[in-house]
């Protein structure tokens, strides 16, 4: 039997976090961190609520996962995040030495690939998992909440 714990499975969990952000009028980006098949951190963007540009979903997830593991490094972990990480978050991932970054929607303007941020040599990444759903919630946010239609 195929394992239910696919990239899509965990991205759906990250999307649930994005929904929580949406409800708080935050740009809806969510993240989970997984070790083995266990989710050890869940977070969503809180930049407006905390009045803090550093409060991206990924940053909070890194902090929470390290807290859970009792060590700073996330060498065996995978980050699932609904949008391609920015320079700051990719730069933070460098310090965590995380094993893998899996993101949903691509961010051609602000994503780390555009800015050519250097990941840790041990870190692999894949984009485009559930990209439709991950983009749709962000587009819906800007249309419904910020009237950018």
């Amino acid at each position: 039997m195929e394992s239910p714990f696919t990239h899509e499975y965990f991205m759906k969990k990250a999307l649930l976090e994005a929904e929580k952000a949406f409800e708080k009028n935050e740009v809806p980006i969510g993240a989970v961190i997984v070790i083995g098949e266990k989710i050890i951190a869940r977070a969503h963007n809180l930049t407006e609520t905390l009045n803090d540009v550093t409060a991206h979903a990924e940053m909070q997830a890194f902090t929470a996962a390290a807290d859970y593991l009792g060590g700073k490094y996330l060498k065996k972990c995978t980050l699932y995040v609904t949008l391609e990480p920015c320079q700051m978050c990719a730069g933070a991932s460098y310090w965590t030495q995380i094993d893998q970054i899996i993101f949903g929607a691509f961010d051609p303007q602000r994503g780390f690939r555009h800015f050519k941020t250097t990941l840790h040599p041990q870190t692999k990444f894949t984009g485009g998992i559930l990209t439709g759903e991950c983009s749709e919630i962000i587009n819906r946010f800007f249309i419904e909440k910020r009237n950018l239609n």
Copy 2:
């Protein structure tokens, strides 16, 4: 009369923060954020204490300054930091839209210039302020505390 509020003046305040980190067995890097001639945030590296690779001096200073100002953006502010910021911290500064980054020692291996991190178009930077003092405390840390002599 010349203003006492020179780059060196504020870098000395950042060095006081680095000293606090040193006493806590943290890699001794300190930062202050200034608006006009007023220091609105002081912070030092707390990655070991908080078990969190995101707890760089600059990240905490950005959070504290935004909290002080009641707004996410630091458009009229200057960050003074004893070591050249890394990709993560430079990436965070992008989101703050900070006016100026002044750093002490250069970090040719891990600094944002090496990694070509993109600063916000409004952000200017200058390095090499009190570079001797800023390097010395870090070198002393690795010799005394981590026996790398």
